[in-house]
């Protein structure tokens, strides 16, 4: 592999961007310093997925994580948080699974207003560009997710998390 360009100085953390691309779509992008197969593996292997999907700084614990990553397979994540008396479950189904390039899943915990998440992994030299689209069934569904203050795709149960995030955001101290 030709990865000699690695010698360029690189910021320690790549930038995560979010854009509301249309009335019912949010797009998150991030570049990772590694090949697509590795990034994909980290998204689809439960033991690896668990380690980053629930950052320690959130005060959340993952009670269980079941992922049957294949077309038609389901997933179910259950979290607990000190601020929430009940555990919070997030679940859905994988609609598309293309190794190293594409994942599509539904977010069914929110009922009818749930979004469909599409993630693409695009290898660019030694890096991988990850683009995540969260497509809501309607403008109203996305507007109400925003209005409720919950952080999209996670249902209203994550309201407390939003508060936490403000603290985390300050602590992360991006410059």
């Amino acid at each position: 592999m030709d990865a000699r360009r690695e010698s360029e100085p690189r910021p320690t953390k790549n930038r995560t961007t979010v854009e509301r691309k249309s009335e019912r779509e949010l797009v998150v992008t991030r570049t990772f310093n590694g090949p697509a197969r590795i990034v994909f593996e980290a998204w689809t292997t439960p033991e690896l997925f668990k380690r980053w999907w629930v950052p320690k700084s959130f005060g959340l614990s993952l009670l269980s994580c079941e992922m049957d990553v294949r077309v038609g397979g389901t997933y179910r994540l259950v979290f607990s948080h000190p601020a929430s008396p009940e555990p919070m479950a997030f679940f859905g189904r994988y609609n598309e699974v293309m190794p190293h390039s594409r994942l599509v899943w539904t977010n069914d915990e929110g009922g009818e207003g749930g979004s469909v998440t599409k993630v693409t992994f695009e290898e660019q030299g030694a890096e991988t560009l990850v683009v995540m689209h969260d497509l809501y069934p309607s403008k109203e569904a996305l507007d109400s997710a925003i209005a409720s203050g919950s952080t999209g795709g996670f249902g209203e149960t994550f309201e407390q998390l939003d508060e936490l995030l403000v603290t985390v955001g300050a602590g992360v101290g991006r410059s």
């Binding site: 953390k13 949010l26 998150v28 990772f32 952080t151 995030l165 985390v168």
Partner: protein, 121 residues
């Protein structure tokens, strides 16, 4: 920084492209007013003013409230700001997650190097 949604910007620009609507905003910045009062002030029919206020309302620049038979207009809580704040929190969530994912990716890369070749699962 935060990238605003194009659709909302379009709505705002469309709303602000009209001289009467800009005038209405200036007026409302001074004091709340009824649609009737605004129509008089700008020498327009009630229907015409309702239309303008509707456009401003759509763009989130104006809020209206009906009390009895009078609809009062005031400057809107800017939806753009609210949405931008939400999007920034959403971005932070993913930024924190992805920074953790970096660690996992680095680890896997190191492991691959050590293993020499990748053993597929």
């Amino acid at each position: 920084m935060v990238q605003y949604t194009r659709t909302h910007f379009d709505a705002s620009f469309a709303a602000l492209s009209d001289a009467t609507r800009r005038g209405v905003l200036e007026q409302l910045a001074r004091a709340d007013a009824s649609i009737t009062a605004l129509a008089e002030k700008f020498h327009m029919t009630l229907t015409g003013m309702k239309k303008h206020v509707g456009v401003l309302e759509q763009a989130g620049l104006v809020m209206t409230e009906k009390v009895g038979r009078v609809r009062t207009c005031k400057l809107g809580v800017c939806r753009l700001e609210e949405e931008a704040a939400w999007i920034e929190r959403y971005r932070q969530l993913w930024a924190v997650r992805f920074d953790e994912l970096d660690t996992v990716v680095e680890e896997l890369k190191r492991k691959e190097k050590v293993d020499g070749r990748k053993k597929r699962k």
